[in-house]
Symmetry: C2
Subunit: 497 residues, 2 copies
């Protein structure tokens, strides 16, 4: 059985327990671990590391693809293992430690982490820990439900620990396309010209001697926690459909649109779900994560191909998809996140990019990360990679949060992740603002008219009127610009008396 999964015979000698593998990790090391959007993370070794640290304290820098499932970040933080963390996270316990200044978090564009590693601009990975579904005849690593940064971690690390996960279906093999950009100054173009372009290997190529241990595990991925569509997300989806129909009518694209990207989470998933009832067909995705909506669209015959770096599904959808993976396989491809999120490919393909904003302001600047300007939520993730380089950069959010105590449309965002230069379309359940070709004053009028919740419309209008009296290309009343955030902090609502 195990020989079917470990096909390079000498590596059978490397079988080890999770404790034995975790013992290889030393205090102060940098660990590069698989895992992207709660999919395909190493599971046994980090748990063993946490157990060990509870007795014999140690600290590491932990790099991953993106967020981890199975409460791994929580467990590692509670065991005081995580000193530094990059490039993304979404765990409440880790978030609290980051905001308390206990864990140093480096919030990076997801396409850039391995570029920094490759050029040795940040501290190198000592050990890579990669979940695999198999090891090939030549010692190559076949990843599981995500590729993330695993390929470059394994290639760049001194040692590699494999977690061979027997509960991940072997049909995953053949789904991956591992392409690593060549080193500068002789780097060549990435030859991807359509979402289905296969340009690499179906496994991560490393010298088998680097594999220091193979740990067998059977723990499954955490299922996603997204909520079903509601009235607001349906309204957002409808506004987007109307816009895209307008683009089709003006001859800017066909009914197959441009390749789609949608960020992780409930709103973006719901918006994509909305394409089920749209007149669009023969859709393609070039995204970072495939959620339930992708498989619904494939099943409905609406989508022909989806490329990403991971698959993260609800419990029900996992049960539907995993047994039939062989059937889905010719519709899917999983790539390293450096490639799924690469500016070069995103710009070339001309994506329609749909990401979630925490808040946006009247001039079109978007905050994706910081609550109240100071407290980290999850991280920028891939939203910057996509928004900057997309054909059409769309940000979606509900117009209010916390039962109306927070307006998602504010005078000035309290933290900027995406500047006015990178945002084409803003959508709330209230409506849509098409900012293309507009000056800041024109954008403000449109956003106030179309996107803000009625409760806050007059208040925002008043701000803009006052700002106009001060003048400028981007009028502001500086002493009032962040006052809505201050009001929420002090009085629990942004709404003025």
């Amino acid at each position: 059985m195990l020989r079917d999964r470990i096909r390079y015979p000498r590596l059978l000698e490397k079988l080890a327990t999770a404790d034995e593998a975790a013992a290889m990790i030393e205090d102060g090391m940098t660990i590069g671990m698989s895992g992207f959007t709660r999919a395909g993370e190493a599971k046994a070794v980090p748990m063993a590391l946490a157990a060990r640290a509870r007795k014999h304290p140690l600290k590491i820098t932990l790099m991953t693809g993106a967020s981890l499932g199975n409460d791994l970040d929580k467990t590692l933080v509670e065991a005081h293992v995580t000193a530094r963390r990059m490039p993304f996270q979404s765990d409440p316990t880790l978030r609290k430690a980051i905001n308390a200044g206990e864990v140093m978090f480096i919030d990076q564009h997801l396409s850039e982490t391995v570029e920094l590693l490759r050029t040795r601009q940040i501290s190198p990975v000592d050990i890579a820990i990669v979940e695999a579904v198999a090891i090939t005849e030549n010692g190559g690593i076949v990843p599981t439900t995500s590729v993330g940064n695993s390929a470059s971690f394994a290639i760049l690390a001194d040692k590699v620990i494999i977690e061979l996960n027997l509960s991940q279906p072997i049909t995953l093999e053949g789904l991956h396309d591992i392409y690593i950009p060549s080193k500068r100054p002789s780097r060549m173009p990435i030859p991807i010209v359509t979402p289905e372009s296969r340009v690499g290997l179906p496994y991560i190529p490393i010298p088998p001697e680097k594999i220091a241990a193979i740990v067998v595990s059977e723990k499954v991925d955490s299922s996603s926690t997204i909520l079903p569509p509601d009235e607001d997300t349906k309204a957002i989806a409808n506004h987007l459909t109307d816009l895209l129909l307008h683009e089709v009518r003006h001859g800017r694209m066909g009914h197959d649109l441009q390749p789609l990207q949608a960020g992780i989470g409930t709103i973006a998933n719901s918006v994509l779900h909305g394409f089920l009832d749209s007149p669009f067909h023969d859709l393609k995705m070039y995204s970072e994560v495939l959620q339930d909506s992708t498989f619904e669209l494939i099943d409905a015959g609406k989508m022909t191909f989806a490329s990403a770096s991971s698959i993260t599904l609800s419990a029900e959808m996992y049960q539907r998809v995993l047994p039939r993976l062989a059937e889905y396989k010719h519709h899917l491809l999983l790539r390293p996140q450096e490639i799924s999120n690469h500016p070069e490919v995103i710009r070339r393909l001309g994506l329609i990019s749909i990401n979630t904003a925490l808040e946006f302001d009247i001039y079109g600047n978007v905050n994706s990360t910081h609550v109240g300007g100071t407290h980290m939520m999850n991280g920028i993730g891939g939203s910057g990679d996509f928004a900057r380089n997309a054909y059409l950069s769309v940000f979606v959010t509900k117009s209010i949060a916390k039962d109306g105590a927070i307006s998602s449309v504010v005078p000035m965002v309290s933290h900027v992740d995406h500047t006015e230069h990178d945002v084409d379309i803003l959508i709330t359940e209230q409506g849509l603002a098409d900012l293309r070709g507009l000056a800041p004053r024109e954008r403000a009028a449109l956003i106030i008219r179309n996107c803000v919740h009625p409760t806050y419309r007059d208040q925002l209008s008043d701000y803009f009127s006052d700002a106009l009296k001060r003048g400028g290309h981007t009028p502001h009343v500086l002493e009032e610009a962040l006052s809505w955030h201050q009001a929420f902090r002090n009085g629990k609502t942004m709404l003025k008396a």
Copy 2:
């Protein structure tokens, strides 16, 4: 004589006066004009248009490559011709009109304007006006000292007006490399793999029938207005040299470094000038504009090749370079700004990118455009194209302005053009902060220690201490975050009593 410059004989019939050509422009049209960093703009026709508008008012949308010389923007604004303007400008009169809300200015990444035009996401160009040094045997347009957006303007416009500038040396012919990305969905990789890659044509290919008029002109480009290096810019250059030596010592690059990009203006030019006295050699540039420093480096044997979209020199340097252009030609290439600034190429080549900040904050966010958060200076230009995709993204500025009344290092920038995710290195004459791999709290400590002017160090330290008490990943005291800008607005100094 003229036949040597207009080699497609039938086009001799299109010779016209500037007034005749200007008469083709109708009220409400969108005009795409050559001109990038005060180089190679059309000169006679816009002047004739302004003269006409003073008698018979009309309004246009004016798109260019970037800034114009010869007071063209001033003249057009004073004649009330400019209703909308994109994607960049640097004229005091236009700036005033923009900040008064009289001209709608759309401040764009310089690589993106023609992408929006090509996909018809903004209003199409009715007439292109392009300065040329010659028209080839097959009717192709040979640009002058800049390419800018001229190629796509001419290709996409219904009509093209040529300004044949006889004072521009014919030796410019052969310097240009016109490559236009193919249309989606069949767009191929841009085949540039080194700064000297020649991938296109030496002229702009259009059907000669589209040429509606040829106007002969002899007005020269405005010379640049940069100041010579001073003690502060020398100190900035020295800090950068130290950093790059550190990179070489750590094996991250050789003494030929990575290809260099430097923004327009005095500080970036001075920093590049500083490479004359550095131990680096065999340097290459992949930039948007070539200034005096590039030619000094070529003359000194320090630089082997420079690719850009324009050449903008001081009066003295023009006299030195233009007569010897044939000798420089095998060291130079001028490309469309879409290509000189293309994310795909910038990321592939791995540039060291040096741009000027108006101000930056303790967490590494950079403001390149807005004075006091509201008033447009020039525009983002290419700084975003480069900073986001560079190997090493460096921002430079003097630590104080207006004799110390303004600190360039502030608690929170009043406008964000480059987010913390895109800024690697900050340099003032005081010192350098290497932000790579650091969390926000770590960056703040470093920036306060190394970059801020001593006059403001305690004041900034106090802010950071207060912010730390509030907590968060990016600590701020929201009600104080923009108070320095407010203090300058109200009391003419950021310095607190």
